[in-house]
Amino acid sequence: MRLEDFLLMRHEMLLTLMVVIVLIMEIFMDDRHKRCIRPWTIGLFAAVTIIGFLPAPTGTLFGGMFQTSGMHLMMKNILNIGALIVFIQAAQWLKLDSNHNKISEFYILILSTLIGMNFMISSGDFLMFYLGLELASIPIAALAAYDTFSNKSSEAGIKFIFSSALSSGIMLYGLSMIYGTTGSVYFDQVGSVYTGTPLQVLAFIFFFAGMAFKISMVPFHLWTADVYEGAPVNVTSYLSVVSKGAAVFIFSIILVTVFRVIAPLWQNVIWVISVLTMTIGNLFAIRQNNIKRFLAFSSISQAGFILLGVIGGSTLGMASVVYYVLVYIFSNLGAFGVVAAISTATGGKENISDYDGLYKTNPGLSWTLTLALFSLAGIPPVAGFFGKFFLFTAVAEQGYYALLTIAVLNTIVSLYYYLLVVKAMFINKSDHPIAYFKSDGFTKLGLAICIAGLVVIGFASPIFEFIKSLSFGL
């Protein structure tokens, strides 16, 4: 193993380096200057993100434990972008007095989960996968409980860590059976001997349940709403896009590489789960008043839509999944960015009814949120439309027209509740609308990036083309 080989692990190395840098800053800076950590970290991380896009060699390391390809790099870059936006959006929140002594911890925790996700995506065996997965989950529990003054926040933390532990327990049980029936934990070796005996199916289902937990598929989704609601907004946004995105990536990779043989089985499983996820997510979202909880259920139903791309397992499907996650990052972060800005500015107003008449006082934020929600609903000309369209194309490609029909009908329900928020902002009248406030530069920058992304990604076909060219499939 030569030194250059470490270039393959560029993302992970850089992130680790950043963790170290932030740790050093934390240790050696005196309290009064700690707020400077924010711009520095954001700047550094922006640099890391940009470096991530530079061309890089691909290959495997550590005897196949670590593998990287153009697609892996793309996924990691997408996650980096998401995390970068989260960082930018969180800057204002971190400035609050209640967070003044835990600024760098926020960055360290997020960066370490990001490392975990990167390793998870790049993993070539179940051991690394498991390790990455845990690295990506455990700190998030702490992040969810970050707001130590809030009951809800600690409740979110405990719910997350326990659900996560249970799910990883079940998944491990499945993994052990996979190991026992195939004699290996390496993806390629497992894939080559996997036949689909009952025990292997059981193992797969248990593994699936673990992943389903991360992606919050019904019926493994119940933690989602509570955690999203309780956690600080910026953590929720991170959780809902980056964490979920990473899980989706590795999930689709494993499905088409390891479980290639039992594709008909998992396609059926996903069929059922996807329908459940979309429908239940939507049904719950209709009734929510807390906007974070609302977005949580919306993200559950979005997960159902993402599964539409996974189910085909085709090149197109995988490309559309990756593309959709990219779009989803911008849409969801746009929405959460506005929620975060308002929550931070008003000291925690997070109910949809608080948004009544928002357009009169804060038109900019209202438009941003509207665009983001339209993107989630799949309305042109924002990127979400393209994302959904490709997902639907992918599912139709495999001939799942019934599923497609259910999915499109679900989009109507989802449109309904997205419009409820739009209605609150534009149409409802309120005696005490949220007063006009000025956001700081970071928040504006974060939202601007999201809007730009939403508008550009859909029309700029090269993005999708590039992803498609990297894509993999059954």
């Binding site: 963790v19 550590f62 002594n101 370490s112 690394m128 455990i138 003054f149 059976m177 026992g180 059981l202």
Partner: protein, 170 residues
């Protein structure tokens, strides 16, 4: 019945019994103690399988580390003598049903499986092999997980501290 088999039966029985005690005992400290027994018995099982290193880790980390942590936190958060409230019957029944059904499902499925053992020679497991494996970055080397888990532990540490530390302002 050979002594080995007897050992297995005993260890197995201990594990199952004390597991059940762990999850049913109404005194929380006792439950912790029962858990300790289970973990130690598991270590015994590893010894029995001649994985001494693992057994040692099990005892030090699990029994020594986690259980101690748990006991500390029990002491922090509960009255030692306090009994936990009884669980509603409905919950017990449903949970038990789920667990039993799950166990039956898994066991029947396991028993259907024809496990294929490898023909390759068994590898001796000693400290040297383990050490080499941990530092090996080729196939069947575990250098990478070894490194990553350090990040994990660091992160967990930071996480635990950030949550548990008393805020200066409060």
């Amino acid at each position: 019945m050979e002594i080995n088999e007897l050992m297995f039966v005993i260890i197995g029985a201990v594990i199952i019994l004390f597991s059940i005690f762990t999850v049913t005992s109404r005194r929380i400290l006792r439950a912790a103690a029962f858990l300790l027994f289970v973990l130690v018995a598991t270590a015994g099982l590893y010894f029995w399988l001649e994985y001494q290193f693992l057994a040692a880790v099990q005892i030090t980390l699990y029994a020594g580390g986690i259980v101690v942590l748990i006991i500390f936190s029990i002491l922090l958060t509960s009255n030692v003598g306090e009994k936990i409230d009884k669980v509603e019957t409905k919950k017990v029944i449903f949970s038990a049903l789920a667990a039993i059904a799950g166990a039956i499902l898994c066991i029947t499925t396991i028993l259907q499986q024809q496990f294929q053992a490898t023909d390759a020679l068994a590898q001796e497991v000693n400290m040297k092999v383990i050490g080499k494996s941990l530092l090996n970055y080729g196939e069947n080397g575990y250098a990478l997980p070894f490194e990553v888990i350090s990040v994990l532990l660091l992160a967990a540490m930071v996480a635990a501290i950030v949550i548990a530390k008393k805020s200066k302002t409060s």
